[in-house]
Symmetry: C2
Subunit: 146 residues, 2 copies
Amino acid sequence: MKDIIYHPIGIIHTPFKEPFSAPMQLSKAKDVEGRIEIFKEFLDGLKDLEGFSHIIILFHMHKIKDFSLLVKPELDNEIRGVFSTRSPRRPNPIGFSIASLVGIKGSTIHIKGVDMIDGTPLIDIKPYIPESDSLSNTEIGWLKRK
Amino acid sequence: MKDIIYHPIGIIHTPFKEPFSAPMQLSKAKDVEGRIEIFKEFLDGLKDLEGFSHIIILFHMHKIKDFSLLVKPELDNEIRGVFSTRSPRRPNPIGFSIASLVGIKGSTIHIKGVDMIDGTPLIDIKPYIPESDSLSNTEIGWLKRK
């Protein structure tokens, strides 16, 4: 099948300078602040975003150079299939995070609750919509034993 | 900045044969069934996934050939910034859906609650983890007036 080619639309800045200093997904520091610098040519797309309290951020984990189909999650002693984890060592190293939207000034989006490393290329921003995104009555597989 | 290159890891099959016959994000038919065919070489990555009731699906909206920074959502009369909507006409046409996981047989993942078109390339699967993904006390900007 054909390759899928995306282009960064901005850069995410966080306090985390090294891959392994970022908080793990499940314990992510809700109060860690960061900012997104959107490239000027995409600025118009931010209209109306400020009314949302939370945004979905899709980003390219550019420091990840290889993947593994079986991984050992940090909080677990067993080997798990990578698609049952949030490990960055995935076939396509695409990251997904939900952040609080603090405010937008020009091309800078201030956010809270970041877990990616500084300099991460941004792929997309979507509004968090609880009607479709916030689920209850879920089962969490191997994680429920943690 | 450098292009980001991803490779499809499978194909998503749904009843929707045309781009505009798929249900809109906000009214997505929770009972529509579909299936994902994972390419054989990624099969080991599905280990342990079946214990989760819901999965996050990231996919490439391969029929989208251009984008617009300002769009008119189907349920709205005003022009909105594309990043404040779930419109597919985004700079990087990457789709995000949460589906119920019905079951896995070999390389076939049966899912429910699909809104993408038949033949959509799959980029990633992640487990839905309510601790980080299910938020309450959210604000939904322009959508709250609908």
